[in-house]
Amino acid sequence: MKIIKSIGSAFVISSLLLGSALAGEVKSIAILTPEEGTDYGWNQQGIDAAKAAGEAAGVEVVVAQGLGYGDVRPTLRELASDGASLLIAHASGYNTAAPEIAKEMNVPVAIVDTPNGLEKGLVADYTLSGHEGAYLAGRLAAKMSRSKTVGVVVSGEPPSWNSQSGAFAQGVKAENPDVKIIYAVIGPAAYSDAAGGKRVTESVIASGADIIFGQGNGSSFGMLQAVETTKAADGGKVYFIDVIGDKSPIDKGFLLSSVVWNIEPVYAAMIADIKNDTFGTKHYAIGLKDNSVELLKTPAIPDDVWSQIEALREDIVSGKIKVEPVYDATAVRALMTSVAQ
C-alpha cells in the first residue's frame, strides 16, 4: 500500500511539474515551413502571422523555412532543445512527425489537417478554412466569366483546400447554376510542381474556362504562368483567383482576386492557450467576420460587381447566407459540373 501511495504521489508531483513546465510560460515560438516565406501564399502568411503574434505577445519567434516535405524530426528536436515553447509545424506533411516530437520532448506543437489529433497541453490542430471567402470568390467568378465556364486547379486535396474548392463551387452555383465548373488535381502532393500546374491549367483553359481558381503553393506560379500565356476560347484574357496570399506585387494584370488569410489571430490564441493551460483543447477558425479572411479587390473587378460582392459578404457575416465547409474530397468533387452526376 505504501509503495502504491509513493508511486501515486510521485506521479502527481511529476505531472504537476510537467504541467507547469508546459503551461504558463511562453518565451519563444518556432514555425517550420516547407517552402520559403516569400511565396505570397501559405508559407509567407504563416511566417508573417507567427512574427506578428510573437511581437504582440513579446515572444521571440524562430523561423525554420524551406525545409521541404521530407522528415523534419531533426529540426523539430533541435528547435525544442533550443527552448521553443511552441512548435508550429506549418505543413500537412509534418502532422505525423510533430506529435511524435511533442511527446518525446514535452513541447507543445501545432499541426494542420488533423482535427482529431488534439492532445491537451501537447498537440493543437489549426485546420483553417477560408471557405467563406472562397464562396465569395465563386460568386465573383460566376459574375465575371464570359464563357460561363470556370476552372478549379489544385495541387493536392488537403481538407483546407477541399473546403475552399467546395465553397467556390457553391458560390458559382448560387450565382448562376448554368456556369460549368471544371475541376482538376495536378497530383497527390504536387505542391512544387510548377510545370504540372501550368500543363493542367492550360488543359482546363482549353476546355473552355476563362477564370481559374487555383490552390497550389509553388505550383500556383505555374498556374499563373499558364493564365498569362494562354488565351481563352474567345481570344480574351484568362483571369486567376488565388488563395491565402496576395500576389498583387508580381501580377501582370491577370490576377482577379485572392482569398487572403490572416493567421495571426490563430497563433495569438495558441500563445494565450499555452499561458492559460488550455492548449490542445479546442479548434481554431478564421472567417470574414473578424477579417481574418478577406477577398482581395483588384483593378480587374468592376466597382459595381465589387459592391455586390461586399453586400454578399455582409449577408454571410450576418448569418443570412450560411456557407458550410466541405472537407471531404469525394463530396467536393460531387459539387463540380465536370463530375458525372
Binding site: 517552402e35 520559403e36 516569400t38 511565396d39 505570397y40 524551406g66 521541404g68 486535396e157 460549368k180 471544371i182 475541376y183 482538376a184 488535381v185 497530383g187 497527390p188 504536387a190 512544387s192 510542381d193 510548377a194 510545370a195 504540372g196 500546374g197 501550368k198 500543363r199 493542367v200 492550360e202 488543359s203 482546363v204 483553359i205 482549353a206 476546355s207 473552355g208 509553388g218 506560379f221 505555374g222 499563373l224 504562368q225 498569362e228 500565356t229 494562354t230 476560347a233 506585387p249 508580381i250 501582370k252 474530397a329 469525394t330 468533387r333 460531387a334 463540380m336 459540373t337 465536370s338 463530375v339 458525372a340
Partner: protein, 311 residues
C-alpha cells in the same frame, strides 16, 4: 463526356503530354549513356535542378531561350564534372555521391532562388513554336505534335543520333565495354576513366538541358524543387530501356500521355477518387517493370569504380 472534349482540348492534352515527356527523354537518354559506361548516376535529379536554375537564369537575363538551354546544359555538366571527379577518378561510391549531389543541389538552388527571385517570381514569355508546314494543320494531331519549340524535335532527333552512336561507332563500343568489361577495354588501349568521364559529362549536359527545358518551356519559371522527381523517373526509363534510346522515347511519351490522361479523366468527370486517377503514370511504369524489367540486362560493371589492376 459533357461536351468538354473539343478539338482544342484534345490538342492541349496531347501537347501537354509531349511537353511533360521531353525533360524525361533528355534525362533518360543521359542516364542511359552513363549506365552503359558503368556509372550509376543517381545525381541526375541534382543535375536537372542545376540545369533548371541556370537555364532559367540564362534565359531570363539574356532574353534568349537558346542561351538558357546552353547555360542549363553547362550547369548540368558542371555538376557532372564533380561526379566524374569523385566517382570516376577517385572511385567513391556512386550512390552515396549521387544522393549527396541531389540533396546539395536542392538546397543550393533553393538558396539562390531565395536571394534572387523569391520576391519577384519572374516568368518568361511563352516559347515561340516551330511550326512544321502541312503537318501542323492536321486536326488535333497537328497542334499537339507539330507546333513545339525546336528543341523538342532536336530531342527526338537525338534518339536517332544516340542509336547510331551505340550501334555504329567506335565510341559507342567503347562506352559499352566500359560498362561491361572495363578491364578488356583497358587492355585494348582505351582509357576507361576517360571514356566514363565523357559519358558522365554528357549525361550531365543532357540532364541540365532537360531541366532547362522544364523550367523555361514546361513551367516558364523557376521555383525550388521544380524537377519534382523527374530525374529519378529518367533513371527508371533508362533501366527499362535496356540500352535502346528509342525505348526511352516510348517510355517518356507513355509517362507524359498518362499524365495528360489523368487530367482528361478528371475533366471528363470520371467519378472515381482522384488518387486512383493520379496513380496511372506510376502504375504504367510498374506494369512496364513487370513486363520488361525482368529482362533488363544492366552492364556487368555498373556502379563499380574501375581501378587498373584491381581484382
Amino acid at each position: 463526356m459533357n461536351g468538354l472534349f473539343s478539338e482544342v482540348f484534345l490538342s492541349a492534352l496531347l501537347f501537354g503530354a509531349v511537353t511533360a515527356a521531353v525533360p524525361l527523354l533528355l534525362a533518360g537518354l543521359g542516364e542511359q549513356m552513363s549506365e552503359k559506361a558503368g556509372v550509376l548516376n543517381i545525381g541526375i535529379e541534382g543535375m536537372m535542378l542545376a540545369g533548371a536554375y541556370l537555364g532559367f537564369v540564362g534565359a531570363f537575363y539574356s532574353e534568349s531561350l537558346w542561351l538558357g538551354f546552353l547555360t542549363g546544359a553547362a550547369g548540368g555538366a558542371a555538376v557532372a564534372a564533380l561526379m566524374a571527379l569523385l566517382c570516376v577518378r577517385l572511385g567513391l561510391n556512386q550512390i552515396v555521391i549521387g544522393i549527396a549531389l541531389t540533396l546539395g543541389l536542392e538546397g543550393l538552388t533553393a538558396l539562390l532562388h531565395h536571394f534572387q527571385f523569391s520576391r519577384s517570381y519572374p516568368r518568361l514569355p511563352a516559347a515561340d513554336p516551330t511550326v512544321i508546314p502541312l503537318l501542323a494543320d492536321i486536326p488535333v494531331i497537328g497542334p499537339a505534335f507539330f507546333r513545339h519549340h525546336l528543341l523538342v524535335y532536336l530531342a527526338v532527333l537525338l534518339v536517332v543520333v544516340m542509336s547510331y552512336l551505340y550501334r555504329r561507332t567506335q565510341l559507342g563500343l567503347n562506352l559499352q565495354a566500359a560498362g561491361d568489361k572495363p578491364a578488356a577495354l583497358d587492355v585494348a588501349g582505351i582509357d576507361v576513366i576517360r571514356t566514363r568521364t565523357i559519358a558522365v559529362l554528357t549525361t550531365g549536359a543532357l540532364a541540365g538541358l532537360g531541366g532547362a527545358y522544364l523550367a523555361n518551356v514546361g513551367a516558364g519559371l523557376f521555383i525550388p524543387f521544380i524537377t519534382n522527381g523527374a530525374g529519378f523517373l529518367g533513371i527508371v526509363l533508362a533501366m527499362l530501356a535496356r540500352g535502346r534510346p528509342v525505348w526511352v522515347l516510348f517510355g517518356a511519351l507513355l509517362f507524359g500521355a498518362c499524365l495528360s490522361l489523368t487530367t482528361a479523366m478528371q475533366v471528363a468527370g470520371i467519378n472515381i477518387p482522384t488518387d486512383v486517377i493520379q496513380m496511372l503514370p506510376f502504375l504504367a511504369v510498374m506494369i512496364m517493370l513487370v513486363l520488361f524489367g525482368r529482362q533488363a540486362s544492366l552492364p556487368a560493371a555498373l556502379g563499380i569504380p574501375y581501378e587498373r589492376g584491381a581484382r
